[in-house]
Structure formats: structure tokens, C-alpha cells
């Protein structure tokens, strides 16, 4: 009961957020939060550009999304698969174990750190 209420609230919030990010371009509005890390340090974080990328993606602009945050675009199918495995963790522990294998976690860690470094060097 409590669990289904939480899921309903989360889905509702996601739909509202999805609509806001679909309708408003974060690049043209001051309401959207700018990245804390970028504001404080002047360097981009691995998540910078995610809001603009989501706006572009919701409007069907895959190339634009790739320009704003390539890592997010690459990670979305992975995230979807991981969430699916997460929801079936007790029913299908083997899928979860495979997706959470140390090798894959290492791969993601290295990718994030490289992405973080390279995007600040080449201004991606």
C-alpha cells in the first residue's frame, strides 16, 4: 500500500518534470538550476548539460542531446536496463548480478572520470 503510493507519487512527479523539460528550454530560462560544481569551480562536472540534453531528447533532437551531454545519452539505455533488473532483483537475481558485475562498475567509473577530464580539456 505504502509502496504503491510512493511509486504513484514518483511517477506523477516524473511526468510533471518531463512535461516542464519538454516545454521549456533550460538554456533560455533562469529558473533552472545551474550546476553547483560549475558555478563554484568553473569546471564542468560529468552531469553538466543534462537538463538541456533532456530537453533536446524530449523534443526528438538526438544530435543536440549528444552535444549537450554525450555521456547521458550513452548511459540512458544502460540506466533503463539496470532499473528493469532492479525491479526484478528478487525474481531474477542473475540478471541483476550480471549488470552489477565488478567489471561493469569499473568500466562505468573509468568512463565517468575520463568523460569528466576530457570534457574540461576539449570543452565538450
Amino acid at each position: 500500500m505504502r509502496r504503491s503510493l510512493i511509486i504513484t507519487v514518483v511517477v506523477f512527479l516524473l511526468l510533471v518534470l518531463g512535461f516542464v523539460y519538454f516545454a521549456v528550454d533550460p538554456a533560455s530560462s533562469d529558473v533552472f538550476p545551474r550546476c553547483t560544481f560549475l558555478t563554484l569551480t568553473g569546471y564542468k562536472c560529468p552531469g553538466c548539460g543534462s537538463q538541456r540534453a533532456i530537453h533536446a531528447l524530449l523534443n526528438g533532437d538526438v544530435a543536440g542531446a549528444f552535444r549537450y551531454n554525450a555521456m547521458l545519452l550513452v548511459a540512458i539505455p544502460w540506466i533503463a536496463l539496470c532499473l528493469f533488473a532492479e525491479s526484478r532483483r528478487t525474481r531474477d537475481p542473475r540478471l541483476y548480478a550480471r549488470l552489477n558485475a565488478p567489471l561493469l562498475i569499473w568500466l562505468f567509473l573509468v568512463m565517468v572520470l575520463l568523460w569528466w577530464l576530457l570534457r574540461n580539456i576539449f570543452n565538450w
Binding site: R34, P46, G47
Partner: protein, 171 residues
């Protein structure tokens, strides 16, 4: 759900329910699945009724002995000769690594706290593989807190960052 079967000393598993129906088991088989503290006789697993052949009844039908209820198995299953104690290899599942939440917070919450959560996901796996279940559980909890902290800090920093931006624009 997945089951482990021990039939006449031969252990198989994990297998799905549909596969068990084709295994031609008898009432001597023992079953374990997640949630059971020990192996139980197949006759005591409600969802497996009708998938096995009851051996004692058939024997009685041939010999003409008066009917007796199916013999209740001893609480401890008979240990097959020359085998280790019958525990499935994955008796305790790995605690959650929270990896997917670490990825989401890394890419959406601006503060690199998500990266710490990824490192804790690795720690969960390493501890689990060393056999340190308690350590894996602790790492799992700490990683989850890093994910939550990343989200809360991301939300809290919103007005702060807006103020910094505005003061930068006005000056």
C-alpha cells in the same frame, strides 16, 4: 522464483518451476529456494504438488500392504555420501550495489557525490566476493546514503547557486 533440487543425492539448480515439472522427480526429492532456512521435502512445498511421483504409495499398491500416509521426511535431509553439507552456493544474495542510483545521481545531480557511490558499489561487490556479507551490507548502506546525499545537496544548492549567479550578474 528459482529452486535448487536434490534428488537421490544429485543436486541441480537454480531451475525454474517449469523445468522442475519435466524432471520426473519422486517424493524423495528435496527442495530449497530463497526464503527457506533449510532444505525441505518436495511434498512440503505447496507450489510443487503434483509434479512428483509418490514412491511409497506405488510400492504399497504392488505388495498389497494396507495404505499408510506418505512417510513424513525427517526434519534434516539425508546427507548424500561424500558430499559437503547441502547448502546452495548462493545461500545469501549479494546486497544491493545501488549502482543505477549512483549513475543517475552522477549524471543528474551536479555534485560529484555520485562518484563516491559508484566506488561504494564496487566495494559491495568486492566484500561480497571475499565472503564478507556484513561488510558488503555496510558498504551497500553507505553507498545508498551517498546517493541520497547527492540528491539532497543538489536540491539545496539550487537557491544558493541562483544567488551566486545573480550577484555575479549585478556586479
Amino acid at each position: 522464483m528459482q529452486y535448487w533440487i536434490n534428488h537421490n543425492g544429485v543436486q541441480t539448480g537454480p531451475v525454474e518451476l517449469d523445468a522442475i515439472k519435466e524432471m520426473k522427480l519422486t517424493s524423495k526429492a528435496y527442495v530449497w529456494h530463497e526464503g527457506l532456512s533449510e532444505w525441505v521435502n518436495i511434498t512440503q512445498v505447496p507450489e510443487l504438488q503434483g509434479v512428483y511421483v509418490v514412491e511409497t504409495e506405488q510400492a504399497e499398491a504392488v505388495t498389497g500392504q494396507p495404505y499408510q500416509p506418505v512417510q513424513q521426511p525427517a526434519s534434516q535431509p539425508v546427507q548424500p555420501v561424500g558430499q559437503q553439507p547441502m547448502q546452495p552456493e548462493v545461500a545469501e544474495p549479494c546486497p544491493p550495489t545501488n549502482l543505477v542510483w549512483a549513475i543517475i545521481t552522477t549524471l543528474l545531480c551536479c555534485l560529484p557525490a555520485g562518484i563516491v557511490a559508484i566506488i561504494y558499489a564496487l566495494k559491495v561487490q568486492n566484500k561480497y566476493r571475499e565472503g564478507d556479507i556484513e561488510g558488503a551490507k555496510r558498504a551497500s548502506e553507505v553507498g545508498a546514503w551517498w546517493c541520497i546525499a547527492s540528491i539532497i545537496l543538489g536540491i539545496l544548492s539550487w537557491p544558493l547557486v541562483s544567488m551566486i549567479q545573480m550577484s555575479a550578474m549585478s556586479s
